[in-house]
Amino acid sequence: MHDKEKDLISAFLRGSVDRRGLLKGLGTMGITAATAGTLMNMMSTNAQAADFDWKKHSGKSLKLLLNKHPYADAMIANLQNFKDLTGIDVKYDVFPEDVYFDKVTAALSSGSTEYDAFMTGAYMTWTYGPAGWITDLKEWINDPEKTNPNYAWNDFLPGVKNSCAWNGIPGGALGSEDAKQWCIPWAFEQNNITYNREMFDKAGVQVPGNIDEMIATSAKLQKDIGGIYGIGVRGSRSWATIHPGFLSGYANFNQKDLNVSADGKLSAAMNTAESKAYHTKWVQMIQESGPKDWSTYTWYQVGTDLGAGASAMIFDADCLGYFMNGGDNKMAGKLSYAAFTANPEAKASTPNIWIWSLAMSNFSKDKDATWYFLQWASGPEHALFGATKMDFVDPVRQSIWKDEMFREKLNKKYPGYVEMFDASAAGASIKFTPQPLFFDVTTEWASTLQKMVAKEVPIDEGLDQLAQSIDRQLKEAGLG
């Protein structure tokens, strides 16, 4: 490589030239975008290596357990850079999402030393952490000997970072001072609206501004377009039905899943008057404008219907709408995005989030070397690579959201995505109360919702019964 090009890229990596300046400069030197990308990776690797002893664990080998996901694909596409940077060999096992957490649970509960690090959701660490299966990563994050100076832990979005930290006390606030960092956020999903522009234009409706408007808009779309249903939300008997749109709207009315008393006891909080009012509206919306077989709907059905043009909008993960706007989906290129504020009195949306994170197995044979991988995979360079070159959305680092190329990429193909993110990122966090019965509570909640939608039980009565049942379970577990 010529010195001029090297100097220009080095200047960019130092921050003295912006991205536009870099591309313009490389362009005048006759360097194509693809070549520029390769040079950037090479120089970026060199730049990282200059500040930190990345070769400390050279010659070692790690094994990862990964879920079949675009985030894992982005990492695998960039993995050679890590190998070159550190001299550490990395092997990985990729399992389909349907069985992924069974594999993780089996590996961890049997104390398997096969895997050093793995992908997880923050909710799962509420089980893995107290069981002693995963490691508190604060020890490594706070050690300047082990963490490279450019890692920029404070660059992570606070709500996301804190959602991955818990002190292990049932009901303890996420991200508290004494919290353990059970996992490092990798990329996350905010729950907002993805809608079909063509259908909205045809029906002459605007993006709904609150839950009442969402009910009315969904009904009008269903009536005016014909052959479709108004809104896609999940409905299977699973925790996954509660956590996306439903809980995001619920939290916007300042409602909670559980109360935590002064002495740390937990009790059900979903039978308040406000909660009953919200449930009534949610159930009405599904009955009027949801899919016919809503009670079987998971991530896959909600997304597939939007992509195939069977639904007009979804209130679900933003990246689900992102994926459906590409590939061979019939509606590719016709989808837009908007933040959703369910409560007319709320100032901004408060999306509950799912965070794909990286955790370190407590049975790892070499935790220091594993941390080298974790800090690289969650570091700013890989985040930028994933966000600009692959489908690593939503990035968890604030600096990536400020990156012009990334914002341009989104604005070009995903109208409204950046505005959606900017409007709701501040309020984005996990809205559940961390506690070991998380999956029991949410599954029963989903089951109650199913009964309400099927008109098997009135809303008030259903929520009272749900609260009683949850209180009983919490008491039996010594939590209530």
Binding site: D102, A106, A107, E114, T304, G327, A332, D391
Partner: protein
């Protein structure tokens, strides 16, 4: 002689046709789906008229899957190979161990024989997940974790009791007098087993082997827990088409067609043995 009226014949034909259509339609629909793209599969309303494509089969065979999130590597053919290897070797090992054992249990009454036979059968009662977690630890200590040898060993939990108990019943149904006559002619115990008992029990052994093969082929959880991604059978591999960025219905359908074909062909070829072997071996009287 009993005669059947034309009306009765027609009604019977209609009823049978309806039953066949009811049971065969999903398979027929999956077969059609395997020649369609996601877009045509998901069109509203669904249509039976489409331009067929071999792209799904091409993706499976080449190992490159194009999704909305880009091109992904898939290991379906490797999964298929793993299923064939694991099922065939497990059943073969079970036959080698199980048939002589079944003969011994059927012909020779010895102390504890029933207890041993029942213990072997009880392997079928244990919920796999209950057994698998302790097994994972033992396998690590023994160095069998993530090995084909370890998996074939664990697959004996599925195949061995099945073969042993079906074949045992079959041996018991064969008259011992034939064997005694052969022994009186001066032949050894092993020669009697090989020349008389085995050929007579042939259909039963074939039926047991086939059933064991189907059970082994359909197993899901053993390899999932005990082995890494490169040793997974087709039952796990087929799930790879359900991704966060979308469900690849066409590839799922073609994967089903490809994975069902070996067992279907085997079952069709040997269905006479299957029914005969089961009815003679498992049901006494």
């Amino acid at each position: 002689m009993e005669t059947t009226s034309t009306l009765e014949k027609s009604l019977r034909f209609l009823a049978l046709s309806l039953v066949v259509i009811f049971f065969m339609f999903p398979i027929f629909w999956i077969f059609l789906m395997s020649f369609q793209t996601n877009e045509t599969i998901l069109q509203i309303p669904p249509s039976i008229v489409f331009t067929p494509t071999l792209s799904n089969y091409a993706a499976l065979i080449t190992g490159k899957l194009t999704t909305s999130a880009g091109t992904l590597d898939i290991a379906f053919m490797r999964n298929l190979g793993n299923s064939v290897f694991l099922s065939v070797t497990s059943v073969a090992l079970s036959l080698v161990l199980g048939v002589p054992a079944a003969y011994a249990f059927a012909r020779h009454k010895f102390r504890g024989s029933e207890d041993i036979a029942f213990t072997l059968l009880s392997f079928r009662f244990a919920p796999p997940l209950l057994v698998l977690l302790p097994l994972t630890q033992y396998f690590q200590w023994l160095g069998l974790s993530d090995t084909y040898f370890g998996l074939i060993w664990v697959y004996q939990l599925i195949c061995l009791p099945l073969i042993l108990w079906i074949v045992r019943g079959y041996f018991e149904d064969i008259s011992a007098d034939v064997e005694y006559a052969y022994r009186i002619a001066g032949h050894s115990w092993f020669a009697t087993f090989r020349k008389i008992a085995l050929p007579l029990a042939g259909p039963g052994i074939a039926a047991a082997g086939l059933l064991a093969f189907i059970f082994a082929w359909n197993n899901f959880v053993f390899a999932l827990v005990l082995a890494s991604a490169d040793k997974q059978p087709v039952t796990v591999g087929a799930l790879a088409f359900v991704t966060s960025s979308g469900i690849q219905y066409g590839q799922i359908a073609s994967a089903i067609v490809l994975s069902v074909t070996p067992t279907l062909a085997l079952a069709l070829y040997a269905q006479r043995y299957l029914v005969e072997g089961l009815s003679l071996g498992a049901v006494k009287g």
